[in-house]
Every structure is written in structure tokens, then in C-alpha cells.
Symmetry: D2
Subunit: 424 residues, 4 copies
């Protein structure tokens, strides 16, 4: 391993690890400890689990004279790796008032110091690869820290903001450089254009340099019929027209399972929308409650809602192959705490605003093989009853997005920054 | 419409409608009324609902001076057609002790008489198409009558048989011509062979003459990489080796959601397998409890179990495209009350033994459009969180199977005759 | 044992056993098989379980060369006697389509014949006592057959009647001699009077000749302060005034657990009341749906509703001691399928209309000891989280009621003929 | 109101309010925020709710120019007073990361200051009575703070201690003066003696000077048959003998509902007992995990377990009348974090060790009337499906116990310091 590569990873390590601390910086120990539903995790748990990942997969096999920071943490902060052994039950993560946030920060500092030492001395490319994987893993959790926290704060009837102006000034500059950019400043978007693509026998899957997850491979041939994509995401204003037109009252628009959820009252409008008695809509954001801006992309939708909206428009959602085929020249975007409006020509908002539901279930590519060993539990075992989202969101850390990236959630999940890209 | 086609449909109508009665013939009113879980329905309900289908979609729009047999039946026997209106709640179908089985048989006779009259007089091809759809629909329910009844009888600690020898003699000959064939008579199957297929850019979807469901269309191009299929289904003996080897104790073999179900005790072995204290395995069948025959195909498995077994073998399940590509020359088979052993050379048991789980989620073909109107609720609205099974089973009525047929169930469903075809 | 006593029990045995058959006579096998909630049981199950009681507790220990009618019935028809062994799970009683109703009637006939033989030959008073207990037990189940069936029929959106006029003519005369009496014929009741009682140190518990259950003993001293009882039960008209006055909307009237049930929509009005869009009230009865008669006693109420109504009136429910103290001179009444209106002077409707909720939890009398052996599981083990109802209902078999009788159900139970007697 | 009385209440106010802070003093914000089940509440919530009680019932009606500390707190910290209006849902109290612990402490300080001002100026005895009620209310919550916290810490697989030696030194001296007393120092208790009581027509209910809750009134006559009470509570050693003898495997010992809970695994042993693979028993306490001391009273039992144990001994639990009749001369005891062993002659441990389950359901005394207005929601509306516990526990604040005190919990509750006093 050359010195240059070693320095790159050391630099990245410092930058990503500090990014997680920056997200937690405005929060109290209480904010970091609570868990609002089994699908989400406390911020403190994310801080500890990402550290556990480095301790378990980098230090334990490679550090001479390895001893765990705390023996109980092996179980407490294991997420789902059966190969590692027992796990603390996921729905009870919010009951771990001990270790305290302070102790978890000590845990982070200790593991950071040891990983840096190991990386400085080692010439083993396997170690670099594991650290790289750990950083990509941590970036995924950084997005979850924000979406899980948003869900927690939304349960509080006082609807507290995560980020007011002065909070944000404390945040690390290199995480989200435009945190203070006004998301409402964009011009109102016009009607979306339909961008045409020829399709044909295409190669799908990761083909670049650098890192990718195992499930982006192998690159393989797929036949894609000609198709069109909307030039931008669906907006709040457009989605509100769907609501006003009775979209949530017409079963003909919905998948049967979606309609069941409408009938029980689970689905009434996007997750964080609020309506007062006078019919005025607002939206809970990480900046607090704000009047609904019709020009921003609609977000926090289930696949059921995205699909029903598309059907109402007489079109459909893209497949993940179509999306990837189209995305190869799309521009990346920088993070924020809420998606910004479209602004420009051509194919926009493929990245950096909202994840985009596709109609593709999450499945292995032909010839897919998970990584050997425990690390192989990363993706493959989730390939059932989940659907692929493509692109990235405002909460995705800078540098983490790419055209071949496959995000996946159950069709009913709404607490991610998920939106709608139409296709036909 | 020519007289010949009209006569064909009239003949088919009589044959299929009698087939449902033949299935119910050995059963008491009590047997036909009970419902053992929300996913299943009582035999009486199937008898009524298939009649409701003809009454609602054939007679109501086309019979002069139409009046319903009983106004309440419109709600009682609507399955899931929101376009028709209210539905009796599915989990409460077993509480409908009134109308009695006798009244439902009167309902059938009345609607049959009226459909036959209408078909004899009409020259409208739309009517023939609706009757054809109704018969295909009824054949689907004939299979469900058997699988739902099997589930009900399996809840009884006395494990009563549906069919002893003399019961079967009462059954209509044209439904299942080999009901009295001994399923154990086949020779023990040797190791399965791997049959090679070239794949390439293939046309998938219905291309024949006659009837198909909307979701088998449009026929479209798909790229298929070269693959191999096992020549026959996995047997009870092979699956028992998986159990004995600890297959249900190793999380590395399972999809995460499947492992959760193993951990809660929901998945321990195929649905109807029984084991006594001495470790002897037997199997509840529609003929009653029988010693486990190692040569018969294993059946009543979830997708999770099929997938885990394939992973244990180091191979995988086929996609539905692969399956259909391979199935085009496969032989059809006649029905029975339990799957028979493989017997012969080449690709066997594609039809007539067990439905075969594929790794493909149930999704629309490119360009799919459901039929207009209420009939369009038939398939499309279920295209989420379900997986495709291909082929047919021993319980599928004769004449109902074809290579492009797409069956679909949730990954955890086990009460169908579902089995495993391996691919690699 | 004298011949007279032996003849009495033989006569009673024939009369009670025929009474159960009379209740089932108008019903189909389907009607007798279904179970509408875990708290209720199918009529067929009641017919079999009451027979199982005689087979298990009378024949098995006392018949020479005893052999069971069917070995599986020991488990299938055991209700809750842990001392006997395994039980079929209560919520699955409705899935027992086998044995058929016909086989259960054969079971009854066989056991009846053997009990009669045994009783004719035996001089053992323990056998007479067990038969007497079995008959009292069967009378309890006769009432449950009617209330469980009523609950089942009420789930059917067609609201079928159990008993039209000609059905009733088939019923045994000696069970319910006034089945054909018009329950609406009574004059409208005036305002209830308050009947005064002095109380004092009173003896409570069974003191008569003949049979009583163990929990009516020992007779013991209790101090009762002076109190008053309403002369009759609360009527539908009076209860409707409570509804119209917002009784179900004012939390101040409700026990906290009752209010929780109001808030979830479980409690809206008495169980079988129906209201159409025009605000007209009707009531489902065993005679079918009938316009709400304001003069009949309100019935099918939970303790929560009875308590809230009493609080709205500024009074309270009686304790069971008060009720028993007052009931000693009250007249018994004959059965019917629906409670009749009050008609006369003094303390009325203590028996034969509706069971009357008391404020007393079901608890052992001082010095209570259950019967030794398995029979001791009859009452004592249910003495927690249940409340005592006193009196009897229209569905109680003739000869089964007495002043010391203690019925008991959870506070939320509503499918019995339960009503309100006010106290202060 | 005299100056003396005014000074007394002012002194009591300061002492009780500081007591709550002392309990919270060793805890972090995280510890104070989490909620481990719907039945328990976070310590922070207790701190706020007891303050809300003074703000709502003392300041709001009586302070000139009253303005709420924070308008949202009226809803957030209302427990169950429907008369006050909306309530934050109880199961979500642990999600209130805002207001922070710091803000809640500010809230306490503000309300304290204003109550002290009001009390200093006012001559209204109604205000003194309300403050007195608020202090008694707060003392009840002080006990819950400890029991709820214990439940929370017990969910943590690291089993952290609430109180190590140095923590305790920070606690206010006047709350629990013997916190550092070694609970194991007592001599091993010998066999309990049976203390005889004559009973007769007794007066039950509060008869002293000073404060009592409404449900301790009216004092009324009850007839009590002669009875005996065990001289001390059942010990861990005695209860372990019950376990070793198969007490949890014999249905004949259990109430039916208790046996159901045994069968599902909910009841296996006292709530916080732990057993290692070698069969060594230990117990989680607020001091951490400790080896099971056979001489300490067994605690954290449901009524089902207490009742089964008594039945195993051939005796029973006392009624609440019996208990109160016996308790009138019993000595009070001071608090601790775990119950101490019996030590002395005569009737011991009536107070200060464990609450003692009685067989009495929680019901109104004859002639009971709740306080008028919202305060009347304090006790009366819970009088169903709860059972009375008498005495007090180690966690009961000094000065809060008396012979007429009625505590009540559902029969399955185990997280209180509940134990067993036998009677016969």
C-alpha cells in the first residue's frame, strides 16, 4: 500500500468520524437516548454501533493484543450480525440509559485512536478496505441519525426543531456545507419535462473506480425498453392537488395493501404534513414546523403513496434499471436538512433532494455473491419484501452517492426522505 | 360468434361448475362452513363466491330483467372488488352459518340455469369472454377449496382425511382422473440432473391461443444469462437431510425475515410434517396422516425455506423468466390430492406436482395495463410484497396450467402445494 | 338411597338432557359448529362437553368395565380441567367440523344410556350427587348455548332469527313453557319505586334444601347497612335517555377502564342495539331484529355501562350481599328468549328477566373450600378479575335459579342477558 | 388559619419537594427520560407531573394573575384528569426529550417559589388542604420514581445499580435516613408465629387526625370472623422452597388467569430474580445484582404468585379488613432501597418492608363519595379490576404510611415492592 492511499484513508477517517459528532453536537443526552419506534435507533446507539463496527471488524482481527473497550458492548451495539453472536433486542435500544452519551463519546475516542494507530503502521490492503467499508457504513448511519431524530422530534407535541440558526453554526463545516442555505430560495418549478431514453441491452451495476457495496455487483446485461423520465421530482403543490382531488379516497388508485393502510387511517397524507382546522397545511422539518412550500419536492412518502400518485397521473414509477440507465450523467448535490426545489434544465434532482421509489423489489443481481464471512450479512439477507430507492437525499453525506447505489426499505416506510420520480 | 365456440363454452361451463360440486361432495355442511385462518376461506364461501362472480359480471350487465338471487349476497360473497362496493370482512367468512350449504347449492343452480340460458341466446363475444374468465376464476378457487380444506382439517387433532377410497369414487371423473392412482408407486428418484439453457434475449409472456390472465401480458423481451435447472423437484428425503444437518439452526442460510420466523418457532419444518417422540416423521395429507415418503416432492414450504434450502445446496431458486424459458416444452400432468414422485428423464414435474417458488417478486410486465373496469381489480392491485410461483400443483384442475401462468403468494405462505426447483 | 330419590334423579336426567337437544333442534350442523369469539363456544361443543362431564366424572370412576366412547374426546371436550389433562385450545373450538353434529348426538345417546343404567343399579349417594352436579352444569351450558348462539347470529349481516314461531313449536315444552308468550304484551312500567331494607348483621349464603354450588357456601355473617333497591330493572327507554343525554361522552360518569373502552369505540350502546341513519333504534334478538321497545329491560350491558348509568342517576349498583338479602322472598320466573317487561307491584324481575350486575368482585366466602379433586376446579380458580351477577335471566332454565346463586363474568362481558338493578 | 399550621405546611412543602430532587440527584438526564413500559413513567415526568399538580390545582385557581410556566405543560404533564382536558399518551412519555431535565428543574423551582409565596400570604384553609394533598400525591410519586427506575435499569443487560455507596451520600438525609443500613445484618428469621385476632363487628376506615385520602372513608362497620396473621412476611428462602417443590408447575395451586400467565412464561419466579446455569439465584436490586439472601422478604410478586404460595401452604391471603384490624398497633418503619429482614417479636413488617397483597378487590367503602370536581378523579374511577395492597414498603417515604392506607394495583403487577403476609 502506497503512502498516498494510506494518507487518503486517514484523512477520510477523521472527516467522516467527525461528521457523526457534528450531527450529535446540538443534541442533549436525552435527545440522543430515546427511540421512537422499532425501525429507528437512538443517536447514541448510532454513535456506538458505528464505533463497534470498527472495533469488531478492524481492530479485533488486526490489532495486536486486542482487548475490547467494554465486553458488554459486543452485544449491546451489534445490530444484526448473527455471526458475531447475541444482540440486544432492537425495540429496546432506547432503554439503554447506560452507557451514557459521555461514555459512548469516550468509546469513540478510544477506538478512533487505535484505528488511526493501526492504519498508520499497517501495509495490509485488507485493513484499508475494511476501514473504507466502515466509513461508508458510518455515512449510511449519519443519514439515519437525522431521519431517526426527525421521527423522534415529530412525536413531541411541541414539535421542537433540531436546527435553528445558532445550532447550525456549531456544526462541522465539512459535513453539510450549505446548511444555512435557504431551501425556499429556488424559483417555482414549471411543469416537468419528459426526458426520453432509448434503452436497449444495457449494462447495469457498478463500473467505476473506488468503493461500492457488494449488491451493486456484478455488472450485468439487462434489456430496457424505451422509456421517459420526468425531469424533476413531484412537488408538494402537485401532491396536494392529488389529495384535494380525493386521491386518498379512491381505491382504484391503490395497491390492495396500500388501500388497507388508507382504510385504517395509517396513510392520510405525507408523514410529517400537518393541517389545521382552517385547512392550512404545514410540514414538520428539522428546522421545525414550516408552512407547506408548494415548490419543494414532496417527501416522506411510502411506496404505496408514490405508486398511487403515479397511477393518478396515468404514468408509473421507474424500474431501478431505468433509473440507473438515466442517471449516469446526472449531477450530484450537496446535503441539507430539507430537500430544495428544482432549479434548472434537463434531468434534475436525481441526487441530493429525495430518494426515489422504484417499482423494483430488492433482489440480487444475476451472479451476486455476498462477501465471505460475517461482513456478508451486510446486504444479501435483506433481499425480500423490500423495494429499491435510487438517488440520494438532502440528508445523504457528501460523497456517498453514485448512480449504481441501491437503497432499500419496506414499501410502507416513510421516515426516510423519500419522494417521487415519474416514468412512462 | 360461431355455434361451435358457443357449444365449447357451454360444455366447459357445465364441466367446471360440476367440478366444484365434486370437490364438495364428500363434505358435510360443517366441513364447508368453517374457516381456519384469515388467508383461507370456507368451501361454502368458495362455492358461493364463484357463483357471485357469474351473477355480478355476466348476468347483472347482460341478462334482461336481471334481479339478484338474494340482495345480501352482493356483499356477503364479494371477495375484494372495491368497485362493486362493501365486502363482508374476510376473517369472518367462517361465521356465515346462514345461508346454509343447501341454500348456496340452490344459488349455484339458479345462476347456472340463467348463465346457460344467456349463453344459448347471446351472440356477444364479450359474454363468452366473461364466462371464460369466470371459469378460469372458478378453477383457481377449486385449487383453493382443496388447500383451504386441508388447512382446516389439519387443525383438528384427530387429523381426519378428506378422501378415503370410497369418497373418491363419488368425485367427478373429469376433475381429477387419477385420484385413485397410488402416489407412492413411483420408483425412487435418483440424483437430479442439471439441464442447461442458453438464455439470451428472450420473449416472455403469453403467446398462445385461448385464454390468459392480463398479467401474462404483454409479451416482452428480457435478457436471460445462461442457466441450469434441476431436472426434478427436491424430495422429502433431501429436505429431511437439510433438517438433520441443522438447516433450521444456522442463520447464515436464511433471509433475515425468514430467520426471524425460525426464531419465533413459526418455521420448524414443512407445514404439515409431524414428528413423534421417537423421531419418526409423517405428513398430513388429504388422505390423512401418512409415513413420510422420502421420494415424494417436499411441499407446503415458504419461500424462506425454499431459499434457505437452495443456499444450503450452494445454488439458488430460478427467476420466473428462467422458469418460463425452460418450461415451454414441458409436459402437463393431471391432478391428484398429493404430489407424485418424479418418474422419467429430462425436465420433469414442471407441472402437476408442486408450484415452484421463484426469486421474482410479483410485478407488472413492461407495458402492463389491467383490464378496464372492476374486472381490472383481478391481479394488478396485488403487485407488491408477493412472490411468483410457477408451474402447477397436483391440486390444479386439469386444463388450467400453462408455461406463462403466474401464481403469486406472500413469501411466508405455506398452505399451497409449494415446492422447490433448484437453479444455478 | 331410597327409590324415590333415585326416580327423581332419573326423571331430572331425562328432562335436562332433552332440554339441550330442544335448544339445538331448530339449528343446522353449520349453526352448531361455528364459534364467533374465544369467549363463546359452538352449540355442538356444548352438547359434547356436557356429555363429556357425565362420561368423565360419573361413568369413568363408577361404571364397571368403563371404556371411553372415543379416546380423543377426552381432550377435545375438556373445557378447563387441568386435573384431567390436555385441552383443545378454546379459540379453536369452531374448527372441529369432525366429529359431526350427528356423531355428537350419538355420543350423547350412548352416554345417556349408560348413565341411566348406572343410576338404575347403583345405591351410591356419591353417584347421585355427581349426576345432580352434571345436570346443574348442563343447565348452565343451556343458557350459554342460547347466548353464544345469539352472539354468532349477530355477526351475520343478515341478522337471522333463531326462533320464529314454527321453530318454537318444536321445542320441548318443559324447557321454556312460555316461549310463545309475547314479551311486549306487558303494560308500560311506571317509575320504579325504592324498596327499603333494614340490613344489619345478616346471614349470607345457601341455607336451603337441595343442590347448591360450592361457592354459595359457607353461610356466614355479614354486616349490611340499611339500603334501598329499585323495584324493577332499568328499561330500554330509560337507558336511551342516558345515551341521548350524552352518557357515553362524559368521562366523569365512567370507571377509567370503561372510559378507555368508550374511547376506542368498543362501547357505544348496548351490545345488540342498532341505529339506522334516521336515528331509529332497533335491537337484535333471538327472534330477529325488532324495534326497540322502551318498556323492556335494557340488557347486554357491561358492568362499566351499568355502573355509569347508576352514577348518572346519582345512585349505585347493589352489592351481592344486599341483593341476596333482598331476594329471599322474590318470585321466580319462567324462561323465554328475551326478557319481558315488569308487571306488578313490589320487588319485581329479581329472576327471569336479566342477570343483575353487582359491585362485588367474585371472591370466596370466608372459610370457602373448593370440592376435593378435579371437581374442585369448578368455581374457585376463577375468583379474580370477575364480578358477580345475581338473579337469573330469561334464558336460565326453569328450576335453576335461587337467591344464593352467584353468576360471574369479567366486567366487560356483554353477551349474557345482563341488566341493571339500581341501589342506594 | 393559625401561624403554626402555616409554618408546618411550609416546612413540609420544602422537605417533600427536596425529597424528589434527592431521588433524582444520582441520575443523568438520560436515566430520567426513558420509559421501560406503559405502566411506568420516566423520573423526569414524575418530577414535572408533581409540579403540574401544584400549578394546576393550587396556583391556577388561587394565585392572582396566574400565568402558566409553559402552556404546553398542561397537556404534557396531565396524568389522567379528564376534567383538565387533553393528555399526552401515557406510553409515549419516554419520547419527551424536550423539555430537558434542566428545564423541568427550572419548572419545579418556579412553581415552588410561587407556592411558597402563596402559602405565606394566604389564610385560606382550602389552599392548605390542596397543598397537603399535593404533598401526599408527591410522596406517592416518590415511591414510583424508585420502582419505575428499578424496572428501567433491570432492562439493561449490564444491570446498573441506582445507588452505590457514594451516590447515596449525596441523597437528602431526611428522605431515607437509613439508606446505608446493611439490609443483610438482621438475624435469620425463625418460623413465623401465628398471631390470633378475635374479629367481630369492627370499625374500618380512617379515624385519626391529619390527612387521609377520600377512599379511606367513610369509616364503617364490617363483620370480621376470628382470624390469624403470620407474624412476619414470607422470605426468599421460603419462596424458593415453593419453586423447588414445583410450585410453578402445578395448576392446582393457581387461579386460572395466573396459570395462563405461567403457561406463557410470563411468570417463572419473582420479577427480578436471576438464575445462572449452575442454578445459583441472585436478585437485581437498586444496589445492583446481589446473591439471593434467603432471610429477606420475597418481593416483586403478582397477586397470582402470592395467592398460589398461600394455597401451597394450605392457608390464604388476608382481607383488607383483617389486615387493617390487625395493623392498628403495628410499628411504622423507615425507608430503604430494599426490604430488610424481620427482626423481633410479635407482629412485624406490617410497614416499611413490602406492600402486602390482600384478597380484597379495590372497591368503594359503603357511602363513599369522591371529592367534588376534578380532584375527585384521584381514586374512585380506578375501582375495578384492581386489588388492594396494605402496609407500606421500603421505598415509601417516611411519614406516608398508616393503618388505613389503601394501595391498589392490577393482580398481575409486579414492579412494586409487593410481598406476602399469610392469614388463616
Amino acid at each position: 500500500m502506497g503512502n498516498g492511499q494510506r494518507e487518503d484513508i486517514q484523512h477520510a477517517f477523521g472527516r467522516v468520524r467527525e461528521g457523526s459528532l457534528a450531527i450529535a453536537a446540538p443534541l442533549s443526552g436525552e435527545d440522543c437516548c430515546a427511540q421512537s419506534m422499532p425501525d429507528t435507533s437512538p443517536v447514541k446507539w448510532h454513535l456506538a454501533h458505528t464505533t463497534w463496527f470498527f472495533e469488531t471488524f478492524v481492530l479485533e482481527p488486526h490489532e495486536a493484543g486486542f482487548a475490547p473497550f467494554h465486553p458488554a458492548f459486543r452485544v449491546l451495539f451489534n445490530s444484526y450480525y448473527n455471526g458475531i453472536g447475541a444482540k440486544h433486542p432492537r425495540p429496546q435500544r432506547g432503554l439503554l440509559t447506560r452507557p451514557s452519551l459521555h461514555e459512548v463519546l469516550d468509546y469513540r475516542a478510544d477506538v478512533d485512536r487505535r484505528v488511526v494507530q493501526l492504519a498508520a503502521r499497517s501495509t495490509d490492503p485488507a485493513i484499508v478496505a475494511l476501514i473504507e467499508l466502515g466509513l461508508q457504513h458510518e455515512q449510511q448511519h449519519q443519514e439515519l441519525m437525522l431521519t431517526d431524530l426527525k421521527h423522534l422530534l415529530a412525536q413531541n407535541p411541541m414539535f421542537p426543531a433540531y436546527s435553528a440558526q445558532d445550532m447550525e453554526q456549531d456544526m462541522a463545516q465539512d459535513l453539510h456545507q450549505d446548511l444555512r442555505k435557504d431551501p425556499d430560495a429556488a424559483l417555482a418549478p414549471g411543469a416537468p419535462a419528459w426526458i426520453e431514453f432509448d434503452g436497449g441491452l444495457a449494462e447495469i451495476g457498478f463500473n467505476g473506480r473506488g468503493f461500492c457495496f457488494d449488491h451493486e455487483l456484478p455488472r450485468h446485461s439487462t434489456y430496457i425498453a424505451p422509456f421517459e423520465l420526468a425531469s424533476r421530482l413531484v412537488t408538494n403543490g402537485e401532491y396536494r392537488a392529488f389529495i384535494d382531488a380525493g386521491g386518498y379516497r379512491d381505491p382504484a388508485l391503490w395497491l390492495a395493501e396500500g388501500w388497507d393502510r388508507v382504510a385504517t387511517g395509517e396513510l392520510l397524507h405525507p408523514l410529517y404534513w400537518l393541517v389545521d382546522e382552517a385547512g392550512n397545511w404545514s410540514e414538520f422539518t428539522l428546522h421545525g414546523v414550516q408552512a407547506l412550500n408548494p415548490d419543494l419536492p414532496v417527501t416522506h412518502l411510502s411506496l404505496f403513496e408514490a405508486d398511487a400518485y403515479a397511477r393518478w397521473c396515468g404514468v408509473r414509477l421507474p424500474t431501478e434499471s431505468e433509473w440507473e440507465f438515466a442517471a449516469r450523467q446526472a449531477a450530484l448535490a450537496e446535503g441539507a436538512l430539507h430537500p430544495a426545489a428544482a432549479n434548472g434544465d434537463g434531468l434534475q434532482q436525481m441526487f441530493g433532494a429525495c430518494w426515489q421509489w422504484t417499482s423494483s423489489s430488492y433482489a440480487p443481481y444475476p451472479g451476486y455473491a455476498p462477501a465471505p464471512g460475517v461482513i456478508g450479512e451486510y446486504n444479501g439477507k435483506f433481499m425480500v419484501n423490500q423495494y429499491v430507492l435510487r438517488g440520494s437525499s438532502c440528508a445523504t453525506p457528501d460523497g456517498h452517492a453514485r448512480a449504481s447505489y441501491r437503497n432499500f426499505f419496506p414499501a410502507g416506510a416513510r421516515w426516510q426522505f423519500s419522494g417521487i420520480r415519474l416514468a412512462r
